[in-house]
Symmetry: C2
Subunit: 141 residues, 2 copies
Amino acid sequence: MADFALHTDFEASSVPIGELDLCCVRMQNDARWPWLILIPRRVDVADLDHLPAEDRHRLMEEQIAAMGAVRRMGEALLRPVIKLNVAALGNVTPQLHVHVIGRRRDDAAWPSPVWGVGQAQPYSEGSRVVATAAARDALGL
Amino acid sequence: MADFALHTDFEASSVPIGELDLCCVRMQNDARWPWLILIPRRVDVADLDHLPAEDRHRLMEEQIAAMGAVRRMGEALLRPVIKLNVAALGNVTPQLHVHVIGRRRDDAAWPSPVWGVGQAQPYSEGSRVVATAAARDALGL
């Protein structure tokens, strides 16, 4: 079996946060929302039900950790979130990944989902440092 | 604590499939996609991280079961799916719920997410019977 390799789509649109037990964690490079992506380091897995039970349960716990991290990112950016959207879609990028996105009533898409809304707004260097530090601190990375 | 009551939004847009250990299962009444919704029977829970660990893990297993049921619905409707979208959004309906949606390259939204695309197309009675029977059979309900 081939080794795990991150799909190149993620490198174009997100920045690395670190590695949890199962997942590679990335931050979407779009300052409109605090947004983490979890990618299980498993080969040839497109859907959640391709994961064995142990991985599924670890993924659930890493999702919960990422939710806490996204809440902390919102606070650090002075835009605390009121709702989290958690989704495994993968219609475009086939490598299994879970989006964890913080939402506010005044955000650019509320109450619609965020995908396909407008153009990504890359972080300024200062905000990126604030957001990635908050995420790493919350995740113990 | 108040008893669990299904949010009225679900009654307008979906039909009952049955009850799993944790979740109420409904089928979205939109023939464009085989689509189940899982609603944990818990009170005052909006986000996944409000659930205790035991419920979270049960929810993951019921998601996996619902994914299998959605694949079976697609086959029964002669439109087998190639990808599943699994998402807890809840920006509009605040009661925690998880969408499990079967996707095809020729569906009405591919590769975009399905929410907010066009108008729901309610099932004909015949197709609804086929879809709900496939879902119940797959879920052992």
